[in-house]
C-alpha cells in the first residue's frame, strides 16, 4: 500500500514531525535519536538536496534494519563532500570504490554476508545499500546496475538524481531534463539546453527488470520517502529508489528553495512520484495543488533562456506536455485519493 497521509492533525503528516501524532506514527527524522548517518561538517553546498536526501534515506534504512547496514557509494558529490581524506561524515559502515561500480561492489558485499552467515561466522542479518548520483547510476554505472537487477541481488540501490554531473562542473547526463542548460549542452541557437527526445528514465528500466520493488521520491515529502525506504527493506532481492534532489549550484536556484523546487517538481507533474512491484505500478502520490510547469521552471537559472525578453512559449508548452503525459501515465490527478 502507498503511504497513507494522516489528515486533520493540524499539519497531519505534511511536516517532518507532529507532536499530535502517536510516537509510532512519527517520522524517523523527527526522532532525537536518529542516526544522522551523514553527519555535520560535510562539505556539500548550502542547501544541497543530495546531502539532505542521503540522510533521509540512510537514516530510514538504518531504522528499518536495526542499524545492521553497509553502504557502498559511487563517486560523485555525495562521496567527495562527505569523505575528504582522512575525514568522514558517515556514521554507517561505508565503502567507496569507483564511479561506475557501486552496484557491483554492493553485490559483492551482499554475497560475502551470505557466505559468512552460511559458515556461521555471523548471525546478524546485515543489509546492503548502494548509492550514487544520476551520472554514476544512469550512465557509467548502468551496466553494473542492470546486472544487479537481472541477478536479483539482495541490494537496495538509491539514485540521487540532480540531473547532471554536478561534482565535475554540471555536465549533462542521461537524466538531465529537456531544455535544462548544462556545461555541455548548446549554450545558444534555436533550442539551447538539453535536447528533447534524448535521455532515459531509469525507474521505468528498473521496472522492466521486474525486480521486487521500484519507487521514486523527492526531498519535499519526507514521510513518503521514509515509507518507501522502509518498505524496500521488507523485500529480498534487487530494489531501486530514485530520489529527485535539487542542486542549487547546478540548477541556479537559491539555497533556501531546495525543498520548494522538489515540491513543485511533483505538483506540476514533471517528476512523477510512484511505486511499483515486480514491474507493475502499485500507487502514485497525488498532486495536491495542480500548477503549470512555469512555476517550477522560472526560479531556476538553468531554464532562464525560456523566460528572456522573448519567452520560449513553444518549449514551455512541450515541457507542459511532458508533465501532462506523466499525470496521465501515473494517474497523478486524483484529488479524492489524496
Amino acid at each position: 500500500m502507498s503511504f497513507q497521509p494522516v489528515k486533520f492533525y493540524q499539519t497531519g503528516t505534511f511536516t517532518v514531525g507532529n507532536r499530535l501524532l502517536e510516537p509510532d506514527q512519527r517520522s524517523v527524522q523527527a526522532n532525537m535519536e536518529r542516526t544522522n548517518s551523514l553527519n555535520s561538517g560535510h562539505r556539500a553546498c548550502q542547501g544541497c538536496g543530495e546531502a539532505l536526501g542521503a540522510r533521509y534515506a540512510i537514516d530510514a534504512a538504518m531504522h528499518a534494519t536495526n542499524n545492521q547496514l553497509i553502504a557502498a557509494n559511487a563517486t560523485g558529490c555525495l562521496e567527495v563532500f562527505s569523505t575528504p581524506y582522512p575525514e568522514t561524515s558517515w556514521q554507517v559502515p561505508w565503502i567507496h570504490s569507483l564511479f561506475g561500480n557501486a552496484a557491483a561492489v554492493a553485490t559483492g558485499i551482499a554475497a560475502a554476508i551470505k557466505v559468512k552467515r552460511l559458515k556461521g561466522e555471523t548471525k546478524e542479518d546485515v543489509r546492503v545499500v548502494a548509492q550514487g548520483g544520476d551520472g554514476g547510476t544512469t550512465d557509467i554505472g548502468f551496466g553494473c546496475l542492470s546486472g544487479m537487477f537481472e541477478r536479483n541481488d539482495d541490494v537496495l540501490y538509491i539514485c540521487y538524481d540532480n540531473g547532471g554531473y554536478m561534482n565535475t562542473g554540471v555536465q549533462r547526463s542521461s537524466a538531465t531534463p529537456p531544455a535544462a542548460r548544462t556545461a555541455t549542452t548548446m549554450p545558444v541557437g534555436a533550442e539551447p539546453g538539453n535536447p528533447f527526445g534524448q535521455g532515459k528514465f531509469v525507474p521505468s528500466i528498473a521496472m522492466a527488470h521486474e525486480i521486487p520493488y521500484v519507487a521514486t521520491a523527492t526531498v519535499a515529502d519526507l514521510r513518503d520517502l521514509e515509507h518507501k525506504v522502509k518498505k524496500a527493506m521488507t523485500f529480498r532481492g534487487a530494489r531501486y529508489i530514485h530520489i529527485l534532489v535539487p542542486c542549487p549550484l547546478g540548477w541556479g536556484s537559491p539555497s533556501g528553495d531546495t525543498i520548494k523546487l522538489s515540491r513543485l517538481a511533483k505538483e506540476t507533474g514533471l517528476f512523477p512520484v510512484f511505486e511499483a512491484q515486480y514491474g507493475e505500478i502499485t500507487g502514485s502520490a497525488k498532486i495536491r495543488e495542480p500548477l503549470p510547469v512555469e512555476e517550477y521552471l522560472r526560479p531556476q537559472k538553468r531554464y532562464a533562456h525560456l523566460f528572456g525578453k522573448k519567452p520560449a512559449y513553444e518549449t514551455i508548452v512541450r515541457l507542459q506536455a511532458l508533465a501532462d503525459r506523466n499525470i496521465r501515465r501515473y494517474s497523478l490527478l486524483d484529488k479524492e485519493a489524496n
Binding site: 489528515k7 486533520f8 492533525y9 493540524q10 499539519t11 497531519g12 505534511f14 511536516t15 517532518v16 514531525g17 507532529n18 507532536r19 499530535l20 517520522s27 527524522q29 523527527a30 532525537m32 544522522n36 551523514l38 553527519n39 555535520s40 561538517g41 560535510h42 562539505r43 556539500a44 548550502q46 542547501g47 544541497c48 538536496g49 546531502a51 539532505l52 540522510r55 562527505s82 581524506y85 582522512p86 575525514e87 568522514t88 561524515s89 519526507l222 542549487p248 537559491p254 539555497s255 533556501g256 528553495d257 531546495t258 525543498i259 520548494k260 515540491r263
Partner: protein, 540 residues
C-alpha cells in the same frame, strides 16, 4: 597502528570541519505576534492557549487563557470576537473558531470546578473597586493575583453589571455568569452589594484604601422628548431590561415600538418577543447602517421581530406614534420628507444609547471629562492621582471585552503605582503576517459551526440560542490553528537542515541552532510553516 598500504592518517570525523564559517546570514528563532492576539481587546494569548487545547490539555489551555481574561465562558458567548476577523486562517479557508473553543474551555472549567490559585504572598495594600461589571471584576481578579487585598463595592443586588442587567439570558445564561464571578470571590475578593458609592474620596478615606478603580459603566438611558403625556407610555431600554431581569412586571402592552438600531434595541425587541409581545424596531437609516451586528439582526428577524427603517418618531399621539418617513440620498445623508403615518402601539422603548452617572466623582479635584465620559491617561489613571477608571465610563468602544482589558491594564498600573513605579508593558513582537507562513504544510480542514436553537423555542423561551462545541469538534477546531509566528514543534527545521545544524531540545523545549555547522542556506526559514525563524545578516 597497523595501517593499510599508503594510508598514513587515522580516520577522523567531519565534525572537525566547522562549516558555520561559510555563513553570510544566520537563522534565528523568533516569536511573532499572531494577528488574533494583536486584535483581542483583552490581550489574550490566543495562539498560546490554543497550543495546549490542540493536544487535549484543556486545563493547561484554560489556565493559560485566564492569565489574561478570567471569563472564557462569558467571552465564548458575548464577545464580538474581532480576533476571528484578523485570523490568518481566514485567508486560507475560514478563520479558526476561536470564540467557540474559548467557550468550550470556559464551560469545561465550570464543569470540572477548576479554581484560581490564591496569591502566594499578600502585598498589604488594599484597593477599592467601584462597580462589579466586567471591568471592575477583571481588575479585582488581576489585583488579587498580584497579592493585593480587594474590595468591590456594587450598587446593585448582584454582581455582573451590564452582563446581567443588559445582556439577556438567552445569550448569557446566569449560571455561567455566576460561576465565573464566584470563582473570583473564591480568591479572597470581598464584594459588598447594594451599596452605591456617593463620593469616592470619602469612601477611600473611611476604608483607608491605597488606590481605587472606578468602573461604574454607562447606565443612564438617553431620552428624547416625544411624549406630551398622551398615548403610549415611553420607557428606556436599560430600565426595561433591568426591570425584567429583576422579575418586575412592566406595563409594556402587546405592540411595542423600539426606537434605535443598536444591539440594545435588538436585545429589548428579542426579549419582549419571548414574552409574547410584537416588537417593531424603528430606525432612521437603512438596515445595513444599523450599528447592531448583522448576525443579531438576522436572528431577531428569524424570531419574528419587525424592523422599520428610514423612519423617525415625531411624537406620541392618543392611538400610538407618529412616524415621519426619511429619505437617504446617494451620499447617505438623511432628509425628512414631511410624510407622516401613525403606528398603533401600546408603548415605546427608547434604545438611544447610555450616559455615565458621574455622581460618585462629584467634587473630586482634577477629574477631566470628555463628552460626558472620564478621561484617563495611557495608564488608565484619571487626572486625580491614585484614582483609576475603565470600561464604559471612559472614552472607548463599549463592550465586555474592552472592559475586561481595561480591568487588566488598570490592575497592572495600580500595582506599579502602589510600588512607586510605572508599569512597562513588554515590547510587542512583530506581527506574524500571512505572507510569513508556509501554508503548504497545513491540512485542509473546514470550520466547525456551532448549533443553533430552533426558532420556535427561541420565540417563547429564554433558553440559550447558540450551542457549544463538544470535545471532539472543539479539539478539531483548535487544531485548525496555524500557530502563526510561534513554534509549535513540527520538527520541520530539525528535519530539513542538510547539515544537522538544528538541535532538538525535546518536547516543550523547542530547538536551537548549532552555528558551528549551519551554513546559512535558509531552508529552515523557508520551510517553517508558521514563520518562527528569521534570517539576519552576519557581521562580516
Amino acid at each position: 597502528m597497523n595501517k593499510p598500504f599508503a594510508i598514513t592518517l587515522d580516520p577522523g570525523s567531519s565534525l572537525a570541519n566547522h562549516t558555520g564559517s561559510w555563513r553570510t546570514e544566520r537563522p534565528v528563532y523568533v516569536d511573532r505576534l499572531p494577528p488574533c492576539n494583536n486584535q483581542c481587546p483583552a490581550g489574550e494569548d490566543i495562539q498560546g492557549w490554543l497550543f495546549h487545547a490542540e493536544s487535549g490539555n484543556y486545563e493547561a489551555a484554560w489556565r493559560h487563557l485566564t492569565t489574561h481574561n478570567p471569563f472564557p465562558a462569558i467571552m465564548g458567548r458575548v464577545c464580538y470576537h474581532t480576533c476571528e476577523g484578523a485570523c490568518n486562517r481566514g485567508k486560507l479557508d475560514a478563520a479558526v473558531g476561536i470564540n467557540s473553543v474559548e467557550r468550550f474551555l470556559g464551560d469545561e472549567a465550570i464543569k470540572q470546578k477548576w479554581q484560581f490559585d490564591r496569591p502566594a504572598a499578600e502585598s498589604g495594600k488594599h484597593v477599592l473597586v467601584i462597580g462589579a461589571g466586567p471591568s471592575g471584576m477583571s481588575a479585582a481578579y488581576h489585583l488579587r493575583r498580584l497579592g493585593h487585598q480587594v474590595t468591590v463595592v456594587e450598587a446593585g443586588p448582584l454582581v455582573g453589571g451590564m452582563m446581567r442587567y443588559g445582556i439577556p439570558k438567552y445569550r448569557l445564561p446566569r449560571e455561567v455568569l455566576d460561576a465565573e464571578m464566584q470563582r473570583i470571590v473564591n480568591m479572597g475578593v470581598r464584594v459588598v452589594l447594594d451599596t452605591k458609592i456617593e463620593n469616592v474620596l470619602d469612601t477611600m478615606k473611611e476604608g483607608s484604601y491605597d488606590a481605587a478603580f472606578l468602573a461604574v459603566g454607562a447606565h443612564i438611558g438617553k431620552r428624547t422628548a416625544i411624549s406630551d403625556g398622551e398615548g403610549p407610555r415611553v420607557f428606556d431600554a436599560i430600565s426595561v431590561l433591568r426591570g425584567l431581569e429583576n422579575g418586575e412586571k412592566i406595563p409594556l402592552g402587546r405592540r411595542i415600538a423600539v426606537y434605535g438600531g443598536g444591539n440594545t434595541a435588538i436585545d429589548v425587541a428579542r426579549t419582549v418577543r419571548r414574552l409574547g409581545a410584537e416588537p417593531i424596531i424603528i430606525y432612521r437609516r437603512t438596515q445595513d447602517k444599523m450599528p447592531a451586528h448583522a448576525f443579531e439582526i438576522e436572528e431577531a428577524l428569524q424570531e419574528g421581530v419587525t424592523i422599520k427603517c428610514l423612519s423617525t418618531i415625531k411624537q406620541t399621539d392618543p392611538k400610538g406614534i407618529v412616524i415621519e418617513k426619511v429619505q437617504a440620498d446617494s451620499r447617505g445623508s438623511l432628509h425628512p420628507t414631511g410624510e407622516y403615518e401613525t403606528l398603533e402601539v401600546d408603548s415605546v422603548v427608547l434604545a438611544l444609547g447610555q450616559n455615565v452617572d458621574l455622581g460618585a466623582l462629584k467634587g473630586v479635584p482634577d477629574i477631566e471629562l470628555n463628552d460626558g465620559v472620564v478621561k484617563v491617561d495611557a495608564n488608565m489613571m484619571t487626572g486625580h492621582a491614585g484614582l483609576f477608571a475603565g470600561g464604559d465610563m471612559v472614552p472607548t468602544d463599549r463592550n465586555v471585552t474592552v472592559a475586561v482589558g481595561h480591568g487588566k491594564k488598570a490592575a497592572r498600573n495600580i500595582d506599579a503605582w502602589l510600588r512607586g513605579t510605572t508599569y512597562a508593558a513588554p515590547e510587542k513582537h512583530q506581527i506574524a503576517t500571512f505572507e510569513r507562513l508556509n501554508t503548504w504544510y497545513y491540512s485542509d480542514a473546514p470550520k466547525t459551526v456551532r448549533p443553533m436553537l430552533d426558532v420556535i423555542r427561541r420565540q417563547s423561551t429564554f433558553d440559550e440560542v447558540q450551542g457549544g462545541l463538544d470535545e471532539t469538534n472543539a479539539l478539531f477546531e483548535a487544531r485548525r490553528c496555524l500557530s502563526c509566528g510561534n513554534c509549535f514543534e513540527c520538527d520541520n527545521c530539525y528535519g530539513v537542515c542538510p547539515d544537522n545544524a538544528v538541535i532538538k531540545l525535546g518536547p516543550g523545549k523547542r530547538f536551537q541552532f548549532n552555528y558551528d555547522y549551519c551554513k546559512g542556506c535558509g531552508l529552515c526559514v523557508a520551510e517553517c510553516p508558521c514563520g518562527a525563524i528569521n534570517m539576519v545578516p552576519e557581521n562580516i
